[in-house]
Amino acid sequence: MKQFLKTIFLVDLLQGLWVTFRNQKPSLIYTEQYPKERPSVAERYRGAPRLNVHPDTDETLCIACNLCALACPEELIVVTAERNEETRRKELTMFTYDTSRCMFCGLCEDACPVDALELTQDFELASYTREGAVWDRQMLEEGPLPTEYKH
């Protein structure tokens, strides 16, 4: 009988209507107005790669060991180095990182023995050309320019 009355008076439907109705509260709105509002990205976020430099001397931390290039499943890192005859050390000459093929797995970061290569919280990697997605050493050290939006 109770079931019958429930059916007649469309209780199941009204219940559903009530759920959607009470979710109208403006405080429940979940939308993030990107790019107006910037998302807060977690500390460990794996985004744009960065080649760290020594904060004081601006010298690169990279020792050109090539471990990142070996670790990369997509083989998109190319490291070239030159032996400096004076200091008898290997010095980094070129470092390119093809972000277009990168899947941000973090294996290169894990492989780096000196914490030179790092995936940062920057996530805006778009560029107008394919070549723009291949980052050279300068780009990796300075990071991408902060994006400005006008609308």
């Binding site: 439907l13 209507l17 939308t31």
Partner: protein
């Protein structure tokens, strides 16, 4: 000049022009309202980028639809393909001719007004069927067939519900129906010892189905048959279908309001002491509230032109509120206000239902139509008739 104004055709022509010119804009804003309300149910924001709080979105949409390439599929029957959306829009807009917006503002008061509207909405579905058929696409065809079947099934309970109301109203003229409700002092929906609530509910349900709205939106069920009858349409022709759909929603809600909810009458139209609170204070408060909301919005938006638009809106709302305070103007616009207010509440209900329920399946739709709605509507017709006979 005097002569021209006294010509009985002048006012209807002006009203017609006004409706035809304004309705696309109104439809655009109903779409915006739908998107915003739906977004609200779904914990999101809806359009926010074009203008302040997305207020100019309808204009952007209209421009986009007008500028879009108009594609007629190679295999389509191009003449019918061309004409079908026009037919739909034409009939939907024609129905406005007898719509009693207020006691003063209407195009014509025909003595068979309600029949005219029902006839127009029936022909309108022909536009969907032809459009689906002429597209020469399987999805469109399925959509067209579905809409044909749906129309046949749901016209019947819709008709029975209206007939029941007409028994109470004892007239077919739209203005007359409203007038009867004023004379009786009760809206038809609540008359006859509350028995009329059944046909009212039936009318709303069948109306949702008649306008192809969720959960009865099978002709355009996007998750099954892509977009149904207008799968192949693009650009302005698509916009026409859209316009027709929203026009018919507006018309249907208008009919429901007129026939069941007292048309342009305020609630408790015969209770004298409610005159001031309902006819003056309520609209003033409402528009002050909206104006206040817009005012807060003005503070929040950052860009100059957005601030400007919001400020204009605020002032406009305050102005409307002020208009209601002038007795002479109040008399002119209060009927219109109540009519629109009720229609918008019904439209909100439609959106609410759309946002909540899953879609019926084709056979279930037929089931609901034939096995539940039609018997119930026939039963309520008889019961109401008998009660009317006994009490009169």
């Amino acid at each position: 000049m005097e002569e021209i104004l006294n010509n009985p055709y002048v006012f209807p022509v002006i009203a017609t022009m006004l409706i035809i010119a304004l309705f696309p804009l109104v439809a655009g804003y109903i779409v915006l309202a739908e998107r915003k309300v739906l977004a609200d149910f779904q914990v999101r924001l809806g359009p926010m980028r074009v203008g302040p709080y997305g207020f100019l979105q309808p204009l952007a949409d209209a421009v986009k639809l007008l500028l879009k390439e108009d594609i007629i599929p190679a295999a389509a029957d191009s003449w019918i393909f061309w004409g079908a959306p026009v037919l739909s829009t034409f009939t939907a807009l024609t129905a406005f001719a007898v719509m009693p917006f207020s006691d003063r503002f209407y195009v014509a008061d025909v003595n068979i007004g309600i029949l005219f509207i029902l006839a127009m909405s029936s022909i309108g579905i022909l536009g969907l069927i032809l459009g689906g058929w002429s597209s020469n696409s399987k999805y469109s065809l399925l959509g067209a067939l579905r809409s044909a079947a749906q129309m046949v099934s749901y016209e019947v309970p819709l008709g029975f519900a209206v007939v029941t109301a007409l028994m109470v109203a004892e007239t077919l003229s739209m203005q007359g129906i409203v007038q009867t409700q004023y004379d009786k002092g009760i809206w038809i929906a609540f008359s006859n010892y509350g028995l009329m609530l059944v046909p009212t509910a039936l009318f709303v349900i069948a109306g949702v189905a008649e306008t192809n709205r969720a959960p009865f939106d099978l002709p355009e069920a996007e998750s099954e048959i892509v977009a149904g009858f207008h799968t192949e349409y693009s650009g302005f022709r698509f916009a026409l279908y859209f316009l027709a759909e929203y026009a018919s929603i507006f018309v249907l809600c208008g009919v429901a309001v007129t026939v069941f909810f007292g048309g342009w009458l305020r609630p408790f139209a015969n209770v004298g002491f409610l005159e001031v609170p309902l006819n003056v204070i309520f609209p003033i408060l409402l528009f002050l509230l909206i104006g206040g909301g817009c005012g807060i919005g003005t503070m929040r938006v950052s860009l100059a032109y957005e601030k400007g638009i919001m400020a204009v809106l605020t002032l406009g709302m305050l102005l409307v509120a002020a208009l209601f305070a002038i007795p002479a103007v109040n008399v002119l616009i209060i009927g219109f206000f109540w009519f629109l207010f009720k229609v918008l509440i019904l439209v909100y209900m439609f959106i609410w239902i759309r946002g909540t329920f899953p879609r019926f399946r084709y056979d279930q739709l037929m089931d609901v139509g034939w096995r539940y709605l039609i018997p119930i509507s026939m039963g309520s017709l008889i019961v109401n008739g008998v009660v009317l006979l006994l009490t009169s």
